[in-house]
């Protein structure tokens, strides 16, 4: 797969049990090491291209998730890592869980697992990178249709 840019990653723990969080971190550290693809785990939403959410969303952190998402520049891709982020998982029946990440923001890639395995996560992120490129291309095409009189791209 060709990677057109080095996408940076932002991880937010919605209401995960930590199992997926530490696997997300494990994916960035030696042995799995997604940093070899130029991916850096950043702490700043404004630097990030890919948002990795672990855990289901509850009433209190729903606004945090939305805010982080809105702070990220376009194009952006959301990866729901682990079964709780996909649909609530084992905590689906808990009183304080609204559901998966897609109850508050649009999700592009769903990575299953409890806890998510680093291999699966790398697979998910590589899918996210492909989608990032697609979205970027679509944005360029959209922009060139809109502003046809300006000789401007990107």
């Amino acid at each position: 797969m060709k990677i057109s840019k080095s996408p940076w990653l932002l991880h937010y723990d919605a209401s995960s049990c930590n199992g997926c969080d530490i696997e997300v971190l494990a994916a960035t550290t030696p042995v799995y090491d997604i940093e070899r693809f130029g991916i850096i785990n950043t702490g700043n939403p404004k630097h990030a291209d890919i948002l990795v959410i672990t855990g289901g969303v509850n009433a209190q952190n729903a606004t945090v998730v939305k805010q982080i998402y809105s702070q990220m520049p376009d194009p952006k891709v959301v990866v729901a890592a682990g079964i709780c982020a996909c649909d609530g998982g084992i905590f689906k029946d808990c009183y304080n869980i609204l559901g998966g990440t897609d109850t508050v923001i649009p999700v592009d890639v769903y990575v299953p697992g409890c806890a998510v395995r680093p291999e699966a996560l790398i697979d998910g992120i590589s899918k996210a990178i492909a989608m990032l490129d697609e979205k970027k291309q679509a944005a360029i095409e959209h922009a060139s249709c809109q502003i046809h009189y300006e000789d401007k791209e990107d």
Partner: protein, 111 residues
């Protein structure tokens, strides 16, 4: 488990006695029991020994706080307030329901 049954009025006295004995507070736990009543279990501990105190409250009458004797108790008491809806009097740090900001009030007593 060796549990001493007390009442909401005497728990302060028992906590005081525990403090003099240099026991530490291990935990405070609320359990929903029959007819909307809530059972409160206070656990104190020495190095190897545990002392349990229990009383039942109806969930509406305020209970006294032991946080001026055991400062860390404020966390447990705020937790009980937020999850069980029991009002705790005279907490050293009162979050006024803001410790766990759950979507619904007192979720643990709901059916």
């Amino acid at each position: 488990m060796n549990i001493k049954e007390v009442t909401a009025d005497t728990i302060l006295k028992e906590a005081q006695a525990m403090k003099i004995e240099k026991y530490r507070l291990i935990q405070i736990c609320a359990t929903k029991v029959e007819e909307g009543n809530i059972e409160l279990l206070y656990t104190f501990g020495d190095r190897n020994d545990e002392a349990h105190f229990r009383f039942v409250t109806d969930g509406k009458t305020p209970i006294p706080s032991i946080s001026h004797l055991y400062w860390p108790a404020f966390l447990y008491e705020n937790e009980i307030h937020d999850l069980y809806g029991i009002h705790v009097d005279n907490m050293v740090l009162d979050y006024r329901g803001g410790l766990y900001r759950t979507a619904e009030k007192a979720p643990m007593v709901k059916e």
